[in-house]
Symmetry: C2
Subunit: 187 residues, 2 copies
């Protein structure tokens, strides 16, 4: 039997994306975002949604660019801090001792210590309500060599990305492999 | 050291959303989608991206509605099949012996056997490239009672949602709880 819980912003899973931007004074900033995902395969685009009150919101509009750095479980404290503190008040890279690296492709920094990076040029923004959706075209994906498989693709089991659970605001790791897509449902 | 792998549609995690729609003849259809996520908290909105070639694409535009049913690990074969077969040719509910339930709030069916359901009214669509982003306003969330906690919120550990890994097209389960968000990064 299903129970109605009302129109709540809950789905499973949601990601932990760390959004890298520069402010007017070229200070690098990092913010945690769980509302987002891939929105087009060709051109490769990704969307993230932000409240206008965030520091990152204005930064993206000023520079027309952002990066997404995906943290490993080992950096869960830093990732969570990026979602608590505001770049308006704090220098979040200094506070965490993480290293901002200027992208050569877009006008935004990424987090050196995180294993998986997407560099995005702002394609469009769509004001919805409390949140505005920013669509970025992915210019490149950069991956730490030690989390690549022999075949050269990123290994989720080595990356150890974090899952955000919006139902009770907790974090989870990735569990066991359950099978191959476009395959186990063929019967 | 980071290695460039080009502009590939890969992030971690991506979801397994089963999109429920009706076609012109009122036949219920279900399709698996991994490109999507929450895009606004107020009003609660969710985006999914589809290729125009899919059966679901036209169904959503005709009915201005869709549902998202989140399958448990136990239904991974059915979920994968929903991403392989096309509703143009097959009656996917009949093939899987799953039950379409007509939403009372929007003109679309959901999957009775899946534990977590969102009923969405189409708010807008944004043509990007190969994919078009459909933004739905969530009218209600319905959850199986046996996957709710005592406090009444959906329990990710009971729901057991599936994670899609686009890097090598595999499925994963959710792993261990890593900590509380907006908390463990406070130091």
């Amino acid at each position: 039997m299903k129970k109605s819980i009302g129109a709540k912003p809950i789905v499973f899973p949601t990601p932990v994306f760390i959004i890298g931007t520069y402010d007017k004074a070229d200070k690098p900033n990092a913010m945690a975002v769980a509302w987002g995902g891939i929105c087009c395969s060709d051109p490769v685009c990704i969307s993230i949604s932000l409240r206008e009150a965030t520091y990152t919101y204005a930064n993206i509009l000023q520079r027309n660019a952002f990066t997404i750095s995906i943290p490993s479980e080992a950096y869960i404290k830093e990732a969570d801090y990026f979602g608590i503190a505001s770049g308006k008040i704090e220098d979040k890279f200094s506070s965490t001792c993480l290293t901002p690296v200027k992208s050569e492709l877009v006008d935004a920094p990424y987090v050196k210590e995180f294993p998986f990076i997407l560099e995005c040029a702002l394609l469009q923004s769509v004001k919805i309500g409390l949140h505005t959706l920013f669509m970025g075209q992915v210019k490149d994906v950069k991956v730490e060599e030690d989390v690549l498989t022999k075949e050269g693709y990123p290994d989720i089991e080595k990356i150890k990305p974090i899952i955000f659970n919006p139902a009770n605001r907790t974090y989870y790791g990735v569990g066991k492999c359950l099978g191959n897509a476009f395959s186990i449902g063929k019967k």
